[in-house]
Amino acid sequence: MTGNVLVAGAGSTLARALAEGLARRGHGLVLAARDAAEAKRTAADLGLRFRVPAAALGFDARDAGATAALVPQAEAALPGGLAGVVVAFAAMPDQEEIERDRTAGLAMIDVNVRSTMAILESAAALLETRPGSFLCAFSSVAGDRGRRKNYSYGATKAALSTAMEGLSARLAPKGVTVLCVKPGPADSAMTWGLFPSSPLLAQPDTVARDILSALARGRSVVYTPWYWRPVMAVLRALPAAVFRRLPI
């Protein structure tokens, strides 16, 4: 499994860690991020350290035109085209902000559902003739149950998880892996200062390693770190009447 991989949303910590893991395995990289200068610095670093081709693109998921153009752009960015696509961007406004301000919720749906699924669909159309290729997107454990603290965000992730389950069924016969990643909270800028030295915060490298090993095994869902799988299995099994009483 080599070839070039598009990482959309390459500015995030988890995406950077995953991109590094991909580069270490010899993949070329097309890094797309809203902050093009950042993407360029990451591409330079990974290209140099792992001697792989690496390009950077400025990309904003809120822009429908940019979303539609991304996969063809990335396909053309490096010789040899794409062998994988990772969607790593997401919006996570405060639940309270969404309740106050409808547009914040709609914009989140735009990014997490519309743009993500549009990219996955155009990537699927491109990659379905390339057996051995893969599609991967960051969903969340938050999509497994609706919590009062982040049900709107969770709903967008539930939509994504469901879409990816179907996409996986569609592409599996063609030899294309579709991996839905469900990370718990990781040690990143998103969580810095929120969970003081919590042992449950995963290191970005751990998340990246889990994703790469799930891709290598052709899995369709990976919880990372691993303990989120049993935790979520228990939470999913709880009746709604019990779940809503939990202090989470």
Partner: protein, 478 residues
């Protein structure tokens, strides 16, 4: 090779306003921090930017009055602590940005560790022209302390090998600084302990090497006079030279030690059967898992260790991998815990050559009289002064000692050591210092006023400060 330049400007103007997509809000955490000597330190507000934008957001909007950059926290004292202010951790900004094999330079972010840089450079046939005694420091920290290595007598400090750096100053502006451009900012930043701003990136010159090996020549010296005269005589025989001193030997053996010289080994000289080590770990070896009880590095055990080390230090030539020669302590993670919970200070003084023998003798006598076991005493010669206004080395000899925290006797001891250094016309090293005072420091650094003025022009609002800067009055009073 550089990355293809495909970056396009995001079409921000056409977007609906309001939602932060992946950019994170400016948020701080409370973390426990101390210097490497684990002497002093406290809970502190910390930011940890993951992008240049997040870093400039912190400079512009962090509610704390002052900020200071903190890399890998290897400065021994309070250089990277900031009391009621905040520290900004640079650990997530450690990317290598360019390798220019024709111009022989490497460009990287300020948060890049020398460990990462060397594991990138050495397999490609390059070394850094100056490395300190540990590779677990960041490039930004190394420039801010203007570190020197075992080759100071030949190559000067790391500041001499900086082609250019980009500095984020308190106005939010990014300044390109070099000896030719914004030279005042450059001279205040090299050795400026992070007080001029954040080093976003730096372009360093490279030293081509054919192998990762170092030829090491060892010679024992029975006392301080012999050790010093060997150092003076033999420094020009090798690029690298350093002496390990038995800090506990007294009387006639005071200052006995082992002189070690080193040179990079050319390919043609690699000994048979000695294949070059491939990868180099970016992290330390097994760590000291807990604070050692105080007897581990107490006077008796250190004396025993030093005696054995001295006895085993046979004269002769050997070949070592470069980490073993340059970074012997890096093999043990968190070795600072060996000194136990109370921590230790590192006392490093520079002494002008003419006064060196007498001053070294008195410093070693003071230490050994206190039975303040010094596990590591290191002596080395230094060459001409560099450009940095607060840079430490100038021609002479530097003596570095670990002094365990012996409780209430520590401060008086440090005062007596300071007096010896001052009388000899010497100075202390900011990256190591924990205990000296403003008046002593000012007497040691004649260019302090120049530094204050330059720093004041770069940071008129006083956005950058540290516990050390306040203790030693490094900044202009505003």
């Amino acid at each position: 090779m550089t990355a293809p330049d495909d970056a396009r400007v995001p079409r921000d103007g056409t977007l609906p306003p309001g939602v932060a997509v992946s950019a994170s809000p400016l948020r701080s955490a409370k973390v426990s921090l101390s210097g490497w000597g684990r002497f002093g330190g406290d809970r502190s507000v910390a930011y940890r930017p993951e992008s240049w934008r997040a870093l400039s957001d912190a400079v512009a909007s962090a509610p704390e009055q002052t900020l200071i950059a903190r890399g890998l926290g290897r400065s021994y004292g309070d250089s990277a602590l900031n009391g009621d202010g905040a520290v900004v951790l640079t650990e997530r900004l450690g990317r290598i940005l360019d390798l220019d094999e024709e111009g022989l330079t490497v460009t990287c972010e300020g948060g890049t560790s020398l460990a990462r840089l060397l594991s990138f450079l050495v397999p490609r046939g390059y070394f850094l022209p100056v490395v300190p005694g540990t590779r677990f420091v960041t490039v930004g920290g190394a420039l801010a302390a203007d570190v020197h290595g075992k080759n100071h007598h030949v190559d000067g400090t790391i500041g001499r090998h900086v082609e250019e750096l980009t500095l984020l100053v308190s106005s939010g502006e990014t300044l390109r600084c070099s000896p030719r451009e914004n030279a005042e900012a450059f001279d205040a930043t090299i050795g400026g302990m992070g007080l001029t701003g954040f080093i976003l990136s730096a372009r360093l010159r490279l030293l081509p090497v054919e192998t990762p090996l170092v030829r090491v020549v060892k010679r024992r010296a029975k006392d301080l006079d012999e050790l010093l005269s060997r150092l003076y005589e033999e420094e020009r025989l090798s690029r690298y030279s350093v002496a390990w001193v038995d800090g506990l030997a007294r009387g006639r053996s005071l200052g006995r030690g082992i002189l070690m010289r080193g040179d990079h080994v050319p390919l043609a000289e690699v000994p048979r059967g000695r294949t070059s080590p491939g990868g180099l770990p970016e992290s330390a070896g097994p760590s000291v898992p807990f604070d050692a009880p105080s007897f581990v590095l107490g006077p008796l055990s250190v004396a025993a260790f030093n005696a054995v080390f001295y006895a085993a230090g046979r004269d002769g030539t050997t070949y070592a991998g470069f980490p073993g020669f340059f970074f012997p302590l890096d093999a043990v993670g968190a070795w600072n815990r060996l000194y136990g919970r109370r921590g230790f200070i590192q006392y490093q003084a520079l002494l002008p050559r003419e006064a060196a023998a007498e001053a070294c003798r008195r410093l070693l006598e003071e230490i050994s009289r206190e039975r303040a076991a010094s596990f590591l005493a290191v002596l080395k010669t230094t060459g001409p002064e560099g450009r940095g206004l607060l840079s430490f080395p100038r021609p002479g000899v530097t003596l570095g000692l670990d002094v365990p925290n012996v409780g209430e006797r520590l401060r008086p001891l440090a005062r007596r050591l300071d007096a010896i250094v001052l009388e000899a016309g010497g100075r202390l090293y900011l990256a190591k210092d924990s205990l000296t005072d403003a008046a002593t420091f000012a007497a040691m650094y004649p260019r302090l006023a120049e530094f204050r003025a330059a720093q004041g022009r770069l940071d008129p609002q006083g956005r950058f400060s540290s516990t050390q800067a306040r203790r030693l009055a490094l900044l202009e009073r505003r």
